[in-house]
Symmetry: C2
Subunit: 345 residues, 2 copies
């Protein structure tokens, strides 16, 4: 009999609310013979206020032992910007070598898009997760004076680029349309951009059945709103991926539906699943948050663990739930309950 040993980091704001529903749906979807064990980690703003810690070494070490991590949301206005993002969320992504940050976008029926008409949106962004401008490399000199200089260094390695590009080709090849678009800004960021492009072209020779395309990041934002059907798989740098996936979420049902997976394909470390949205302190504790993004992240988790049928059941349930959603606003728990019922039957 199988088992899943899951680490749960509810985090801040609506994080705790949506994670509770994600777990509810997970329990409901799992077959009898799969045993679920969860361990909650108290990390985030409250912990930081109490102890000054973001992610102590013992806890990082303990997290390593789990099969996967489910994370709600990190961040609170009471904590200086960057402290929890760098000290906890990005620390996890980097320490666990989550080099594939997977963010699917799909316009489910009956969901809202700010775009006119009903564009056919069904693509996935493979965002690099361990390099680029996110490495925390940089500094400031004469801080706070009129002579201050601040730098941010984007670090990119052939090693890091090739592995994520290869992963993206694999994903593109497995999809019906077999199309992969590289997004960068190689006419300005010539060092990193040319390296990405060269590796993209070279690895592409091993995937002759995959159609390739290159777009500058600025042009990509245009196509996302004018021709989103153009995209199948996108591979891009950490920062461009951050920007494009929020825009992608906005056009495909909103940030309340956007799931993500921080994957270490080598399985050297646990992968981490989290909604794209943040902790939304303005609506926290009111039962207003939509847990769907977290539930869809649970589906990504199941697929990563090889439970494909269960993942599909969740996605079908979300699809059916959205199709029948009325005008009446349901609470976070009501949506979670409805999804749990659907996946169980």
């Amino acid at each position: 009999s199988r088992s899943i040993d899951l680490a749960v980091i509810p985090g801040d704001g609506i994080g705790t609310e949506v994670v509770a529903q994600g777990l509810k749906v997970l329990e409901a979807v799992l077959p009898q013979d799969v045993k679920l064990e969860t361990k909650e980690y108290d990390l985030g703003a409250r912990r930081w206020h109490r102890t000054g810690e973001t992610l102590p070494d013992e806890e990082l070490e303990a997290l390593k032992g789990h099969d996967a991590i489910l994370l709600g949301a990190i961040g609170d206005p009471s904590v200086p910007s960057g402290v929890l993002e760098r000290g906890l969320l990005l620390k996890l992504r980097f320490a666990f070598d989550h080099y594939v940050n997977l963010r699917p976008s799909r316009l489910f029926p009956n969901t809202t898009t700010p775009l006119a008409g009903t564009p056919a949106i069904d693509f996935v962004v493979v965002r690099e997760g361990t390099e680029g401008p996110y490495t925390g490399n940089g500094g400031s000199l004469r801080t706070g004076t009129p002579a201050e200089v601040a730098t941010e260094v984007s670090l990119n390695t052939a090693y890091g680029v090739e592995r994520v590009v290869r992963d993206a080709y694999e994903r593109a090849q497995a999809r019906p349309r077999k199309k992969l678009t590289l997004v960068h800004k190689n006419n300005v960021l010539v060092y990193a951009g040319h390296m990405w492009k060269k590796i993209f072209d070279r690895v592409g020779q091993e995937y002759p059945d995959v159609t390739t395309d290159y777009l500058h990041v600025d042009a990509a934002t245009i196509f996302l709103v004018t021709q989103p059907e153009r995209f199948d798989v996108i591979v891009t740098d950490n920062l461009f991926g951050d920007i494009l996936t929020d825009l992608a979420a906005a056009i495909s049902g909103g940030i309340g539906l956007a799931a993500s997976a921080n994957i270490n394909p080598d399985r050297a470390f646990p992968s981490m699943f989290e909604p794209v949205h943040g902790s939304a302190p303005d609506i926290a504790g009111q039962g207003k948050a939509d847990p769907t993004a977290t539930v869809l992240s649970v589906a990504l988790l199941l697929r990563h663990l090889g439970l494909d049928a269960e993942a599909a059941r969740i996605e079908d349930a979300v699809c059916a739930d959205l199709a029948e959603r009325g005008e009446a606003g349901r609470t976070t728990a009501e949506i979670g309950d409805a999804l749990a019922v659907r996946v169980a039957t």
Copy 2:
């Protein structure tokens, strides 16, 4: 009697076509007593193929002597990506200290937007033009090998940030809504991001009547498509400004209407006016390009030179022309002719 000594860089692809129309409208709108002198500079892909030069020192020196520069578009697929962008376009922006890259977005009547409904779009992006990830600082090691490392350094100075932030406050204060939004990513790019935010807050104390707001760049892309009416003036870094203004163009009539001004507010160097779009080699030479973005850039040029009434006449003409645009596609020259007639009357 006044005079305008204008340098013209038609550049590549549709650049030459749209610049011809921009000049036509400029001649038509100028009062009798303003003498227009133009000097054309042969810079861009053809020149590079012929001589290997992007922007020779003598020409950079000669350009300095003009009152302003009108530029069409730079770039061609036959030239390696980055050569002309870095060697010509960005070289001009940096050499002439164009620290205010001004990009207005306005949804004119009868224009297309991919967004549903008719959102009220009327904002301007003040994009920093001389710092950030655009400085060309970076490099690559073991280039082309599996051990390659490539860096891009974003350079930011208090000097550079304060002057553009101040310019943005001035612009916000002069507009009815008096609202200024800083866009950055200070939860990840903590060195540059915190410096921007601190300077933004400090300078803001001198503008108590301006309402301020801060958004991470990823969130800003969401609001651009879900609540574009939220924005009045946006101030942001060079790269974020590049990305946001293409998206802004896409939602407000398309890239065929997006004008821009590269301004040196100190007037130590000529400012440069150009459409946001590129050289579009796929439609070059066919009379298909919409010259409106260039014509609107000419309006920004006139306003910069103190010819406010003429600038307004151009904007009104564009507005009227768009309102009466039928389905029938007009050629580049036909649109230019129509606008020239309108501004002359």
